[in-house]
């Protein structure tokens, strides 16, 4: 019989091969390598249990095999491996991760339609997290996400119809009527419910109907958002206002990492299931993703008006530029010392750096501004 280390090592070689094959688009090879990796890692894990190897080795091997089983769609095996690991004495950090994998298995099960028939204009929404119990969900977490999906559908339709972005007010009567959102009764999953985009609740649509097409676009774009593929998302939604709005709505729908850890949508396309698993937590500033940083340096004149070095690894330095914009400056070492001096003097400075976020400049150079202060434009009196 092969020893534990060799079995595990071979399993990991195969798991890496599966990962590389997947990235090369060789799905069949990836599946084959994954199945072989699982077989060997499962053997290694049971061998470790039988030989009573000490922690954390026992748990790491069982957890590793469970992950491969989830990837291979062998959910029952994954449950058995996790159950065995938790029945031992895993370190708390790994125990928490095992519970996470267990929750993920539940999520996969709930994304399964299990007899629920979806039309092409339907979606199944699944939520998992501390605010969710089987068949019950905190009302806010659920209703806010349902409202967000309705807005995503309506905004996507408007954007596709090239309707000028509306700052406020309801959508057109046609869109409001034809793309209404209907809900089924919840199912006792983590929390699962069917949604229907239609003009009446009985209305199942063909896949070429607008409701089905828009729903597909929403799911595809949410997938790009979750993958952080903002280049593709920008191409799909070239209008900046619609793009920013989409990012904001997607952030509201996305998990928060604790109360709602996973958000899933299952739809049907040409008779096949399409699953979206949103895992990325919402961004604090939904519009931030729209900022595209470049390495082109910027030169700014202004005054350092606020400085706080209490958190030495993350000092807060604020610059008011001469056009009245506030920017946070990122500076370390000598540059930070200079910022402290300029803040104390209140003198004008010239800052050169790279704008790395909408309101953040990474400083490359800091110096006192020479010459007279530019005259401010006189304000018109009314």
């Amino acid at each position: 019989m092969m020893d534990l280390r060799s079995l595990h090592s071979e399993a990991m070689d195969l798991a890496e091969k599966a990962m590389i094959a997947r990235s090369h688009g060789r799905a069949d090879a990836a599946k084959k390598h994954l199945a072989e990796a699982l077989k060997k890692e499962e053997q290694a894990a049971w061998l470790a249990v039988k030989a009573a190897v000490p922690e954390p080795t026992r748990t790491i091997l069982l957890k590793s095999a469970a992950h491969l089983a989830v990837d291979a769609g062998q959910l029952r095996l994954a449950e058995q491996l996790i159950g065995t690991a938790l029945a031992g004495d895993p370190p708390e950090e790994l125990a928490e991760e095992l519970r996470g994998v267990f929750e993920e298995i539940g999520f996969h099960r709930h994304l399964d339609l299990r007899g629920v028939a979806l039309q092409s204009n339907d979606a199944q929404l699944v939520l998992v997290g501390s605010a969710i119990a089987p068949g019950m969900a905190e009302a806010d977490e659920f209703t806010s996400r349902v409202n967000t999906i309705e807005r995503l559908v309506q905004r996507t339709s408007e954007s596709e119809r090239k309707i000028k972005y509306r700052e406020q007010g309801p959508p057109t009567q046609h869109i409001e009527r034809s793309l209404k959102l209907y809900l089924s009764l919840p199912r006792a999953a983590s929390y699962a419910v069917s949604l229907r985009v239609a003009d009446s609740k009985e209305q199942a649509e063909f896949q070429f109907a607008e409701s089905a097409q828009v729903l597909n676009l929403v799911v595809d774009r949410l997938e790009m958002y979750d993958r952080e593929d903002f280049t593709a998302l920008n191409q799909a939604i070239p209008d900046k206002q619609y793009y920013d709005n989409f990012i904001q709505l997607a952030s509201r729908l996305a998990p928060d990492g604790e109360r709602v850890r996973l958000v899933g949508l299952t739809t049907m396309r040409s008779g096949k299931e399409k699953r979206l698993e949103m895992r990325r937590t919402a961004m604090a500033d939904g519009t931030g993703a729209g900022f595209v940083s470049t390495n082109k340096p910027r030169k700014l004149y202004g005054r350092v008006f606020f400085i706080n070095t209490k958190d030495q690894e993350n000092p807060v330095i604020k610059l008011e530029t001469e056009d009245g914009t506030d920017l946070r400056l990122k500076a370390e070492g000598d540059l930070l010392q200079k910022a402290v001096r300029y803040a104390a003097k209140g003198s004008r400075v010239v800052v050169t750096g790279v704008q790395v976020a909408k309101t953040v400049l990474q400083v490359n150079e800091f110096r006192a501004a020479r010459g007279r202060e530019p005259r401010k434009k006189a304000k018109k009196s009314h």
């Binding site: 990796a37 091997l61 590793s64 952080e228 390495n295 953040v360």
Partner: protein
């Protein structure tokens, strides 16, 4: 795997218009600069790594492997499966399987140097030592500037 991660890193660096020989600032116990050099990318490299966030994650692992060898007396000795990927563990190579191994936690940013501190804090919180468990090293790799932070938790 090393070749694959190196290629992924080069794709993301070139996406950010960097050329071989670009300087990368690395903040560890002290801040240093390293020169990142890579061979010309083959024709399919960009197609292979066309999912940029995924390429950044793989590339960040490649850079983190090098930082481990440069900045510690450890190396990658073990692997375990995680969700659609691999977890890497560090050691000296003499220990029994996973005994005394430190975990390598890696976070990748395609192009946003302003996000590095936040990511580092999130990673350190995620692997909070107060939960009383396994030692870990955290590497956050940002490809826009480019810069990296490497810390022991």
């Amino acid at each position: 795997m090393g070749k694959y991660t190196a290629e992924a890193a080069a794709v993301v660096l070139e996406h950010n218009e960097h050329k071989t020989g670009v300087a990368m600032a690395v903040a560890a116990v002290r801040t240093s600069q390293y020169t990142v050099i890579w061979p010309a990318l083959h024709g399919n490299a960009k197609r292979t790594h066309n999912d940029l966030p995924e390429a950044a994650e793989q590339g960040a692992y490649g850079i983190a492997f090098l930082l481990v060898e440069e900045l510690t007396d450890l190396r990658v000795t073990e692997r375990s499966a995680k969700r659609t990927g691999i977890d890497y563990w560090l050691g000296k190579g003499e220990e029994p399987l996973f005994q005394a191994a430190a975990r390598l936690e890696v976070s990748a940013i395609v192009d946003n140097a302003g996000a590095v501190d936040g990511r580092l804090k999130a990673k350190l919180k995620q692997t909070d030592a107060s939960k009383g468990t396994l030692p870990a090293y955290v590497a956050v790799v940002e490809f826009g500037q480019p810069k990296s932070v490497f810390k022991k938790r």
